[in-house]
């Protein structure tokens, strides 16, 4: 803020809107019009009179020109503030946060690839389960789709063994979406896991997730809960985690751009975003 601009002139007058009772009158009139519906018509008539007079008075207040009052302005204190003190800027992110956040991260494509690969591994295992135990590829697929439906809509085990186009489309869409999302999560998380990222992200994480679902699915969708073989479910989850993790860690890392200005990250070619003189030829994002 610039210094208050009062030092160059004597205190002047300030024009402010003049106090007026017309808004009060108009509001009271409108309220009484409605209140008459609950009490007596005479109240509404009184309200209408007040309403009209309030409206006319208000118009006269602002037309042709608004009514003002002149208020003498007193000089403001030169600063109105405390004296300046020694201050310290906190260290910038690159000096502090790097202890916890990675300098390099996996690109988004790594998460996508990992998610798709993990999804295929998971699907293969799940279908193997269907073939071995139910002699049907479609059983696990129908189960995924069943999670979208209310419990009463889930058919019997026998019906789940057969191909159902609508359920197949649902299941495929859900599976791909979930795998992509979890793959992206892996891509983001793996560089931050302290040690043995594959063990943590590929085995322990899926087991925890399976444990959570094991305990809550009975409440959320009891019929679906009865149809699931939890050992195979856990195995499929681990397969996803290990494969997705392995695919992700094999990708090349890139420098994080989190400290770059939004304009630069958005690709806006505005002058002055990069200091070209001090970092001639150097990747300033580092």
């Amino acid at each position: 803020m610039q210094e208050p601009q009062i030092g160059n002139a004597e205190p002047t007058d300030v024009m402010l809107p003049a106090p007026t009772a017309w808004p009060f009158t108009l509001a009271l009139g409108l309220a009484l019009i409605f209140a008459g519906m609950l009490t007596n018509v005479s109240i509404s008539i009184l309200g209408a009179v007040l309403y009209l007079s309030g409206a006319v008075g208000w118009f006269r207040e602002v037309l042709p020109h608004e009514r003002h009052v002149r208020v003498p302005a007193e000089p403001e204190a030169e600063t109105g503030t405390v004296p300046a003190r020694e201050v310290m800027r906190l260290p910038v992110a690159q000096q502090v946060q790097r202890a916890w956040l990675p300098l390099k991260i996996y690109p988004i494509s790594a998460g996508v690839k990992g998610g798709l690969a993990g999804g295929i591994a998971m699907a293969v295992l799940a279908m193997l389960y269907g073939v071995v135990f139910f002699h049907s590829l479609w059983y696990p697929i129908n189960l995924i789709a069943g999670s979208l439906y209310d419990a009463p809509a889930i058919p019997t085990t026998e019906a789940l063994l057969h191909f159902r186009l609508g359920w197949f489309v649902f299941a495929l869409a859900m599976h791909i979406t979930m795998c992509l999302l979890v793959g992206l999560l892996y891509g983001a998380m793996l560089p931050m896991l302290p040690t043995r990222p594959i063990v943590l992200g590929g085995i322990i994480g899926p087991l925890l997730w399976t444990g959570l679902l094991y305990h809550v699915l009975g409440y959320i969708n009891p019929l679906l809960d009865q149809q699931i073989n939890w050992y195979w479910f856990a195995l499929s989850q681990v397969a996803f985690g290990v494969v997705a993790g392995l695919v992700v860690v094999r990708q090349n890392k890139v420098w994080t751009s989190e400290n770059l200005p939004l304009a630069m990250r958005a690709g806006i070619e505005s002058p002055g975003i990069v200091d070209e003189h001090e970092h001639d030829g150097e990747d300033t994002r580092r």
Binding site: M15, H65, E74, E76, G80, Y149, Y219, I220
Partner: protein
């Protein structure tokens, strides 16, 4: 703009204000004022009055439920109490008090001399005020106070068909409709005024990117009010037509739909939660940086999260209606959208924590309330996510778990932030400091009361206690919890008394505050306490988000870094 118009006749010069004006002059001055600061204070005082009323109604309910088979009040009075408590707290406490702070602070913060439409501002306040008076006049209607008059008894969301002439004979529901309708007109006017003020009256240099978060968040609040109150107003007019002109909008037996009322109400009702919580976010976003001695962490992200919440909040309303029996797709959509809103809200919490992280924390009373807000609002959000899961909601919708959840939001979140705002801006409004010891006593007593009441209120909900029941059988496991809950209310009442006493006594006897008692950074602290009628003798020019920091630290101004 009003001060750019040509002046066609001699200006009236108001008389110099005496030290003590006659009572009539003072009352006349308050009734005719168009000054945003005075209107803000009117809103706040009005809301505080109704806070006490609404608190008394809550206490009556809690005394009734303190033990099984109690008959402290009749079932009819109990119904009236929960209806009036909910209606009062939302429409005549929370909204007016937020409008009060917004009215008071926004023009000062953006370097303006008043709101864009000062007279409309006055009209908005008086409409709100008369709406509340009409609603409470219902106690005197009908058979008068002895029989609690024609007081509404249909609950604060007034579901059809309870509101139909068949089930609600007499005028009780009409008082509810008309009271809210009138105050709703005022609220819409005020919201338009806030939007126009922020868009048009910012001082030179204050681009949207340099505007205080307080203004950003309340801009979204005002937008939500404009969008959300329209459907409620329309539905209320339709209900009036049903009741007075034989319409059938909500009459299921005549081709109407009771469910439509629910949609109309909650299209208003859920954004309304954000209308109330967004100003609370705004308070916290101003207080935490000042008492952490750090600039807000992640300003652009906070703005983005605020706007996201504004948009998403318009698409979550039917999570109040899971138990109605919507289709799977409807359920899935509202589950997803409700969960999605937790994301930007969580971002805000992280940013407030990020602001405190590494800061020099000063635990004055406003900061204490904000820290409690952080914890409590987080818990409120988590139970909100739990309730957003449709199957969970089917089990606990309509139980005391829901009551506990939304009181955690409104009391634990909004009211705590509001108390923080009271203590933070009281020196600016009154020119005097509040009593810090009493402030902290208020905090701790109220905190204990809050947790006694609303932590333990979740448990009878999980055990199956429905909301709004007049009494209950012993031996269901609810007895002890209800006793504890009611004891908590007593603590809260004591806390409120300490708060009111602190404000009143400090107003008359508090130490002089000076212009900037918190060493803060936004423009309202650059003018005197209380500010003059014109706010600023000269309109300020700003270069950063913390203009007073720049002024105080010319060797290290913020604008070099933004």
């Amino acid at each position: 703009m009003w001060d750019a118009e040509p002046i066609s006749k001699p200006l009236a010069v108001p008389p110099v204000r005496d030290a003590v004006q006659p009572l009539f002059d003072r009352v006349h001055g308050w009734i005719t004022t168009v000054d945003h600061k005075r209107l803000g204070i009117l809103y706040i005082v009005y809301a505080l009055f109704f806070l006490v009323i609404g608190g008394i109604e809550a206490s009556i309910m809690r005394l009734q439920l303190i033990r099984p088979h109690n008959d402290f009040v009749s079932p009819q009075v109990f119904n009236r109490m929960f209806t009036m408590h909910g209606t009062t707290m939302i429409f005549f406490v929370a909204m007016p008090v937020m409008f009060g702070f917004i009215n008071y602070a926004i023009p000062l913060m953006i370097g303006a001399r008043d709101m864009a439409f000062p007279r409309l501002n006055a009209w908005g306040f008086w409409m709100t005020a008369f709406g509340g008076i009409i609603l409470y006049f219902s106690f005197l209607g009908g058979s008068g106070l002895y029989g609690a008059g024609s007081t509404p008894d249909v609950g604060w969301f007034a579901y059809a068909p309870l509101t139909s002439p068949s089930f609600s004979v007499g005028h009780s529901t009409d008082y509810w409709i008309i009271g809210l309708l009138i105050s709703g007109f005022g609220s819409i006017a005020t919201a338009i005024n806030i939007l126009t003020t922020i868009f048009c009256l910012r001082c030179p240099g204050m681009t949207l990117g340099k505007m205080p978060l307080f203004a950003w968040m309340n801009m979204v609040t005002a937008g939500l009010v404009v969008l959300a109150l329209g459907p409620l107003t329309a539905a209320q007019l339709m209900l009036l037509i049903d009741r007075y002109l034989g319409g059938h909008f909500f009459d299921t037996q005549a081709g109407g739909s009771a469910i439509i009322w629910m949609h109309f109400f909650w299209v208003f009702g859920h954004p309304e939660v954000y209308v109330l919580v967004m100003p609370a976010f705004a308070f916290v976003s101003e207080i935490i940086p000042v008492f952490s001695r750090k600039a807000i962490f992640g300003y652009p992200i906070m703005v983005g999260a605020t706007i996201s919440i504004g948009f998403i909040s318009m698409s979550v309303w039917a999570h109040h209606m899971f138990t109605v029996g919507m289709t799977s797709y409807g359920n899935a959509f509202f589950v997803a959208s409700t969960m999605a809103i937790a994301v930007p809200t969580g971002i805000k919490i992280f940013n407030w924590l990020g602001t405190m992280w590494g800061g020099k924390l000063i635990f004055k009373t406003p900061m204490l309330f904000c820290v409690a807000f952080l914890f409590q609002f987080l818990i409120a959000g988590l139970t909100g996510v739990m309730l957003s899961v449709a199957p969970f909601n089917w089990q606990l919708g309509g139980s005391y778990f829901v009551v506990a959840h939304f009181h955690y939001v409104i009391v634990g979140g909004i009211l705590f932030a509001l108390f923080g705002a009271f203590y933070y801006w009281f020196p600016k409004m009154s020119g005097r400091m509040y009593n810090e010891k009493l402030g902290k006593l208020h905090f701790w007593v109220f905190l204990i009361g809050f947790h006694l009441t609303f932590d333990f209120m979740h448990i009878p909900g999980i055990l199956g206690m429905p909301r709004r029941i007049y009494t209950y059988e012993p031996g269901r496991g609810w007895d002890t919890w209800n006793l504890i809950i009611t004891i908590g209310v007593l603590f809260q009442a004591v806390g409120i008394l300490i708060f009111v006493y602190n404000l009143v006594s400090s107003y008359f006897k508090g130490k002089l505050a000076g212009d900037d008692p918190w060493d803060a950074w936004t423009l309202e602290w650059s003018t005197s306490s209380p500010p003059p009628d014109y706010n600023f003798a000269t309109i300020p020019v700003v270069r950063s988000r913390r203009p007073l920091w720049d002024l105080k630290h010319p060797e290290d101004p913020d604008w070099k870094y933004e």
